[in-house]
């Protein structure tokens, strides 16, 4: 492959230069067409898990119906897991495109492709609309209960929260799709002549008369920037909404203004982690070494390290405030979510979301490798799953029935363990996401051709006196 790993001087020995544009299109085209054995295997496994998940869901619905939110705790957890990962991932592309980092170029498309899984988010969210309890107290205001439970919607505009949440999730999916589409137009236009079969038709339909005129490029870049900023704000808002409606407001008296922030940070952490894992798999087994350089892993893992530290920082900010305040509700919340009821889950969450990835990413040689960041990514993903189980299973079972409308959660409930259907739903959700993603990689090129080619323009190797170094061009 055209990628060169020239022998620089000393520490930048593994420096890496982008492949030359000539062979790229064809190469990517055939890679997108190919159906290698490991891929089909993965697809099959994911599909089986997907079916298991559907089974679990149907069984759960048949058993408990959609009246009570309690039994749906694990479903909420897995929905939130998928939602966090897939909605956060496109943000990585947006953000690093915003900072004009050259190393992001091979990463963008891998990240953007996750927005296709946004459809899954939407589908998985619909049942949750039915199980979410009403804002207004169904029984008339009894002694020591609120007429309207605490939500971010206060008295609530019509249909809040159900309708608005659904609209929000759908809106988010559509926006991320739009970002993907605009970003992929030039590549589709490039491949539309070489591609065959259904891809050819798709590319022709969607690449919308793209000929790469200056005007088209400008509008595409502007569109990406605008949509990116827009998506960013919408995403933060939706994290706020979901984390409040489905976690915080279901535990009476839990007033924790930092929780939406923790939720967002966990989401960013997990999405960056999953991106690194995918990149590693592609590099190791997908035959993309030529496109994905070590420098990408190195820079991205620095960001991941920063996010990991931020995560534990916010967690401590929450913990110390509640511990010090010692209000009855605060002590109950800490007992429930941290020290007593879900203590083990919390411990796993802490270890896998902070301690382990931190211990891995602390070392520069590990960050420079390809496996190190990927390992950290796996750890982070597991930690995030623990986070979601701890929060959402806890929230779903905190206040059954009328207790939900009490001012505070007066007693600390017992933990809720998953039954077989819950397990099915959890693994099924993950499988479904993987399944859809894998399929999408067969339709669209996994590497953003235009970005990589553009990057190749802006950097080259140059000599300064006696040494050879990378020269990075910085437009405006």
């Amino acid at each position: 492959m055209a990628a060169t790993e020239p022998k620089g001087h000393g520490q930048h020995a593994d420096m890496w230069v982008f492949p030359d544009a000539s062979v790229m299109t064809a190469d990517m085209g055939e890679k997108t067409n190919a159906m290698p054995r490991p891929f089909t295997m993965g697809l099959a496994v994911a599909g089986i898990l997907f079916i298991l998940g559907i089974v679990g869901f149907v069984a759960r619905a048949a058993d408990d119906g959609f009246g009570e939110i309690g039994p749906w705790g694990y479903y909420m957890a897995i929905f939130s897991m998928v939602f966090m990962v897939t909605s956060g991932a496109p943000l990585a592309a947006v953000a690093f495109r915003f900072t004009k980092s050259h190393w992001r170029r091979p990463l963008s498309r891998v990240a953007e492709l996750f927005s296709i899984v946004g459809i899954l988010n939407l589908l998985m969210f619909i049942p949750l609309v039915f199980v979410l309890p009403d804002i207004a107290n169904p029984g008339e205001v009894a002694e020591g209960e609120l007429a309207v439970r605490r939500t971010i919607w206060f008295e609530g505009p019509i249909g809040a929260p159900h309708a608005w949440d659904l609209v929000g999730v759908g809106f988010l999916a559509i926006t991320s799709m739009a970002i993907l589409w605009i970003s992929v137009i030039p590549d589709m236009a490039e491949c539309r002549f070489t591609a065959t079969g259904f891809r050819r038709t798709i590319y022709n339909k969607l690449s919308g008369g793209w000929f790469g005129t200056k005007r088209q490029w400008n509008s595409q870049k502007a569109g990406l920037a605008l949509l990116g900023a827009f998506y960013f704000m919408t995403l933060i808002f939706m994290h706020f909404v979901i984390s409040s409606d489905y976690a915080q407001s279901l535990i009476p008296g839990w007033k924790d203004s930092i929780f939406p922030v923790i939720y967002t940070i966990t989401s960013l952490q997990m999405s960056l982690g999953v991106i690194l894992v995918v990149m590693f798999i592609m590099r190791r087994w997908g035959g993309y070494e030529g496109y994905i350089g070590k420098s990408m892993f190195w820079s991205a893992s620095k960001v991941l390290l920063g996010i990991t530290l931020l995560w534990v920082y916010h967690l401590f900010a929450f913990f110390i405030t509640f511990w010090y305040g010692r209000l009855e509700i605060e002590q109950n919340i800490i007992k429930y979510l941290v020290t007593d009821t879900y203590a083990i889950i919390f411990l796993l969450n802490l270890i896998f979301s902070f301690a382990a990835p931190f211990a891995v990413l602390l070392w520069n040689p590990v960050r420079r490798s390809a496996w190190g960041p990927a390992l950290a990514g796996v750890l982070v993903l597991f930690g995030g799953l623990m986070f979601n189980i701890r929060i959402f299973v806890g929230a779903a079972n905190a206040a059954p029935g009328a207790d939900l409308y009490k001012p505070i959660m007066e007693r600390v409930p017992a933990p809720v363990y998953p039954d077989i259907f819950d397990v099915f739903m959890v693994i099924g959700g993950l499988g479904a996401a993987a399944f859809i993603y894998l399929l999408s990689t067969r339709v669209l090129p996994v590497i953003s051709l235009w970005e990589v080619k553009e990057g190749a323009l802006y950097q080259k190797w140059g000599k300064l006196i006696r040494g050879e170094y990378l020269i990075l061009g910085k437009p405006e």
């Binding site: 520490q11 930048h12 420096m15 609120l146 605490r150 939500t151 971010i152 206060f154 933060i236 706020f240 007033k255 924790d256 203004s257 930092i258 929780f259 939406p260 922030v261 620095k302 530290l309 920082y313 916010h314 900010a317 929450f318 110390i320 405030t321 509640f322 010090y324 305040g325 010692r326 209000l327 323009l457 802006y458 950097q459 080259k460 140059g462 300064l464 170094y469 990378l470 020269i471 990075l472 061009g473 910085k474 437009p475 405006e476």
Partner: protein
């Protein structure tokens, strides 16, 4: 990216050492005026300590006022230094070069100034001095086995702030060694000897330079966590207070940190514009740098606004009468609601709308105005968090009261601003506020790439 024409080493020395080797008339005048203000402030502080706190506007519900506000404000300003130099060093941003040292030195001085505030705000400063400033050597009442109570945020504070102060001073000094060497070679007599001592026999061989570079990155990475912890802990002074409903919010730590970065970076931008003006450093502090700062500030400000909205929303979310009372005071009762509007406008909407336009943010006058706005707004923010919370502490409405600062407090506050400006001017006489070697390095590393007809500015990257 890199505008401006290439500079050679001699020119850099000549132009950047102007602040040290020349001694203009206005300098002594300015120092005299500022020094006078500082003296007045100090004497009024002495008067207050001598008379007791009756001379301030504090009262029973509102036990904290201007001094704590000012303390938080200056701590916030101090967050500019590391924010810029560390984050920009780590992200290898080229435009950091002229900004870093001014920012770090501003950090040091604003921290020192900030720490005078809690000292004079205590009822018996002489005891406080005995307790805090002798902490490492003679703990408070150690003879009776009483050590400072580490359960209180008031002990976390000094531990964090002095950690930050020590590290920043060391950071600045290490980064100064090569420039001390330059000064050693340019000066004679006494100053030659002093600079020689400070330069520690620096020769500038490959090994020293390599470690100098490593020092920059490594220390940045180490100071960054400290910098985050400092303002978090300052915010916990308030966050831990369970009785003041509007303070007892979990979001305070990141909220304060982002706010601090916001005010600090704007302060640095302002300082840079001033330096460019009084020392004629147009070749070094170029529009592109101010532009980059402004673009960074848009992001920081928006992040800050997000936290602000979160804090307010969850203030109402609780539906607790005592908290609603505070919010009611903040948002609906004059003059607080007017101050609130001014604060939000000056901190976010006005400056961000300025920074969004390229021509405006490259106009130095408008830019410095925006930075001043931000800092006024951030000062108000702290004030509007601290005082209304106390004025409507709990539901014993019989005790509710408000707060009107006295002239003594005003004078002392103004004095702190004079103090920081005086210190900055003085240090500019002693050390170069723009790192010479960093600029020279930038000159060596800058190159360009030809793509078709255009030439794109580029840089050599070591890794």
């Amino acid at each position: 990216m890199q505008e401006g024409k290439p500079l050679d080493s001699r020119q850099v020395n000549r132009e950047l050492l102007v602040s040290i080797l020349n001694s203009p008339k206005w300098f002594f005048g300015a120092i005299a005026v500022l020094g006078f203000i500082v003296l007045v402030a100090m004497s009024s502080a002495g008067f207050m300590i001598n008379q007791g706190f009756g001379v301030t506007g504090l009262n029973r519900p509102v036990m904290w006022g201007f001094f704590i506000t000012n303390f938080v404000f200056w701590i916030g300003i101090s967050h500019a230094g590391v924010m810029l130099s560390a984050i920009l060093r780590l992200s290898k941003a080229e435009w950091r070069r002229p900004a870093t040292r001014a920012a770090e030195i501003l950090t040091v001085f604003s921290l020192m100034t900030a720490m005078t505030m809690p000292l004079i705000h205590t009822g018996r400063p002489w005891r406080t001095v005995y307790w805090i400033y002798t902490l490492p050597f003679v703990p408070y009442d150690y003879a009776r086995g009483i050590w400072p109570n580490i359960r209180t945020p008031l002990v976390w504070d000094p531990s964090a702030v002095y950690t930050y102060l020590t590290s920043s001073i060391l950071f600045v000094l290490v980064a100064l060694i090569p420039d001390f060497a330059v000064l050693r070679d340019r000066t004679t007599g006494m100053s030659h000897r002093i600079y020689g001592m400070l330069a520690m026999g620096w020769q500038g061989n490959a090994r020293q330079w390599k470690l100098q570079i490593i020092a920059g990155v490594l220390l940045s990475a180490l100071i960054l966590p400290v910098f985050v912890s400092v303002h978090s802990i300052v915010s916990w002074d308030f966050g831990m207070a369970v009785s003041v409903k509007s303070w007892h919010s979990t979001i305070f730590a990141p909220y304060f940190v982002v706010g601090a970065v916001h005010s600090g970076v704007s302060a640095v931008a302002f300082v840079l514009i001033i330096l460019r003006y009084i020392y004629g450093w147009q070749n070094y502090i170029r529009h592109e740098h101010i532009d980059a700062l402004a673009r960074l500030l848009i992001v920081v400000a928006t992040g800050w606004f997000y936290f602000f909205v979160m804090e307010v929303v969850f203030g109402f979310y609780g539906r607790e009468a005592d908290e609603i009372a505070v919010r009611n005071l903040q948002f609906t009762i004059s003059p607080w609601n007017i101050w609130m509007m001014i604060f939000v406008g000056m901190t976010y909407f006005l400056p961000v709308s300025i920074w969004l336009s390229k021509s405006l943010r490259r106009n130095l006058w408008v830019m410095s105005l925006a930075c001043i706005f931000v800092n006024i707004g951030m000062w108000l923010e702290r004030f509007l968090i601290i005082v209304p919370g106390l004025a409507r502490k709990q539901l014993l409405t019989f005790d509710w009261y408000t707060y009107r600062p006295s002239s003594v407090e005003w004078i002392i506050i103004i004095g702190t601003f004079a103090l920081v400006s005086m210190l900055m001017l003085t240090i500019a006489r002693v050390v170069p506020l723009i790192p010479l070697y960093d600029i020279k390095e930038g000159e060596i590393l800058r190159t360009e790439i030809k793509i078709g007809r255009v030439t794109v500015p580029a840089v050599f990257r070591e890794d």
